[in-house]
């Protein structure tokens, strides 16, 4: 029994005892639950897992350095496996076993990627290894479009992110070309109406934006990252209603904007100056860190208030986590130089107490307005 179901069963008993729900109503609720049983069944999950394992099996072929076969036999094996996967998928779609069919599509995309690597190895093609990952990602995107396959789309986002990181490390450039295949994949997610795909699109874009600060404008453009994230979060907070009239996205946009903003601030505070411990006689970095830390704390507290008001749980948890990370890193960075330990804990205690007081006031005013209406 699911967690939700067992909780609901407990509540139903209580509500029935209190006389709020009739026995007929309880029966109707149970029947409704049974009918709308979650699609998260074991079979499709295992089928996708099987496809992933199949992919790994093919990949380990590379490591095993397949012996004894001529190049032609190897090519025939690869192409044969590719067609077998997609043929199997077509057969499974025809039998209306969509979950298994999608697993077969994912298997085909794994074979395609392995084939690129194996052919490159067979013919000693060295080139730029990241290009092979891009070629694979584009094949996966094509699979997502043609087979309407969410699993293939998920693979596309992962592969695009791998390609982007690899190419960026090697070329030390911003790689704006990433945005082209990314936009294609994001549009596919919208076209498939696949919500997790939207999250993957946002996540992969965030992973593209955050390192941007290290790659453009002399490698110190972290304010740009803070600006982009802040603009997204502010727009989601200010025009949330207008956005939600078209698509209920403002809560998610706010959470991702917040994450990007704080990532930028974190880099500005703790990573960009290249020094782990603050010390010495130079007070400028200390002042800079202090101002940035105050700005970060104020922004995070503001985000928390907004998230509490808007009942945006992901953003609230994100802000909590960021606050904990901020305080912890500040502690490590300033230990023994700016503040001593007891003073640090005093400040932290004051902040948390203020937060608790604020949350209490907010809660009370909310209940007061609810009671009044």
């Amino acid at each position: 029994m699911s967690w939700y179901r067992s909780k609901l069963e407990r509540d139903l008993k209580r509500w029935q005892a209190a006389g709020w729900v009739t026995p007929d109503g309880v029966g109707a609720i149970r029947r409704d639950l049974d009918q709308n049983k979650s699609a998260f069944a074991a079979a499709p999950v295992l089928a996708v897992l099987g496809a992933v394992l199949f992919g790994f099996a093919v990949m380990s072929f590379v490591a095993a350095h397949w012996t004894g076969m001529s190049k032609l036999a190897r090519l025939a094996l690869l192409i044969g496996a590719l067609w077998a996967c997609y043929g199997g998928a077509a057969l499974l779609f025809q039998r209306q076993l969509a979950a298994f069919a999608h697993a077969a599509v994912l298997g085909g995309i794994a074979v395609y990627g392995a084939s690129i690597m194996l052919i490159a190895q067979m013919y000693h093609m060295e080139g730029n290894p990241a290009d092979a990952v891009l070629l694979w990602a584009l094949g996966a995107l094509l699979g997502a479009v043609l087979a309407s396959s969410p699993a293939a789309l998920a693979a596309t986002f992962v592969l695009l992110t791998v390609w982007c990181s690899w190419e960026r490390i090697a070329s030390e450039s911003a790689l704006y070309t990433f945005l082209v295949p990314w936009a294609g994949a994001a549009l596919t997610a919208a076209w498939l109406r696949w919500r997790p795909g939207g999250h993957l699109a946002a996540l992969s874009l965030a992973l593209w934006i955050v390192p941007l600060g290290f790659l453009v404008w002399g490698h110190h453009a972290h304010w740009l990252v803070v600006g982009i994230g802040g603009a997204v979060a502010a727009a989601a907070a200010l025009w949330g209603r207008a956005i939600d009239r078209h698509l209920p996205l403002s809560a998610v946009l706010f959470a991702y904007g917040l994450a990007v903003t704080y990532a930028g601030l974190f880099i500005l505070q703790f990573l960009d100056d290249g020094r782990w411990f603050l010390g010495g006689t130079d007070s400028a970095p200390v002042l800079r860190l202090l101002l940035l830390a105050i700005l970060s704390l104020v922004l995070l507290l503001g985000a928390m208030v907004w998230a509490l008001n808007a009942d945006n749980r992901p953003a609230l948890w994100l802000a909590y986590t960021a606050l904990a990370l901020e305080i912890f890193t500040l502690y490590v960075r300033t230990f023994g130089s700016l503040l001593n330990t007891s003073l640090f804990f005093l400040v932290a205690a004051l902040i948390v107490s203020a937060l608790a007081w604020f949350a209490y006031r907010l809660h009370r005013s909310k209940t007061a307005t609810e009671a009044a209406t």
Partner: protein
């Protein structure tokens, strides 16, 4: 068969066809390079003279892989992008780099050939005016996978002999190992399929 299943089968066939096409293009491109590419012979610098063919693959070194930084002409190439090295054949039939450039030079004669290369460390040596600075360049011919079962034979032949690689170069400067020469004689040729 329902209509949508039929449509899906067609879409999957198209997917398989396109992906097969990409893989076939990779193979075809390589086969064309090996069959129609211009042939040059480059002496191999043994990294470890003994046991050269004993492992599954060997790392081959070439004199033309060391390109002095002062040979750079024109704008420097961006990190992790290929560039071009022009080789010239001397009187004794050995090839040596004479120019490194970001854009592909047009000058190709019987004694000149252009290879596409990448820096081993992603970027080139920064100071082109330093007469001692040397770029370590890879042309895609540095890894040699020892053909199955050929290791001991090549190993025995290669002992204390002069080794060279037969390289095929296409019009775009792509290079591939076509065969291995021992004391000037072709002892192993890479099969196409």
């Amino acid at each position: 068969m329902t209509l949508s299943a039929k449509r899906m089968a067609r879409a999957l066939a198209l997917l398989a066809l396109i992906q097969t096409g990409v893989l076939a293009a990779m193979v075809f491109h390589r086969m064309r390079l090996l069959t129609t590419g211009r042939e040059i012979t480059l002496p191999i610098i043994p990294v470890d003279p003994r046991d050269l063919f004993r492992g599954e693959y060997v790392e081959l070194g070439y004199a033309v892989g060391r390109v002095p930084a002062r040979l750079l002409e024109g704008p420097p190439p961006s990190p992790n992008t290929p560039f071009y090295v022009t080789l010239e054949k001397a009187q004794d039939d050995t090839w040596a780099p004479i120019k490194l450039s970001r854009d592909k030079p047009q000058e190709i004669g019987p004694d000149r050939i252009v290879l596409k290369g990448r820096s081993r460390f992603n970027r080139l040596a920064l100071d082109a005016s330093d007469p001692n600075a040397v770029n370590s360049v890879r042309y895609g011919i540095e890894q040699y996978f020892v053909p199955q079962g050929e290791g001991p034979r090549l190993e025995a032949l290669a002992r204390d002999k002069k080794l060279a690689a037969l390289i095929a170069v296409d019009g775009s400067g792509n290079a591939a190992i076509k065969g291995i020469l021992i004391d000037g004689r072709l002892q192993y040729e890479e099969p196409l399929l």
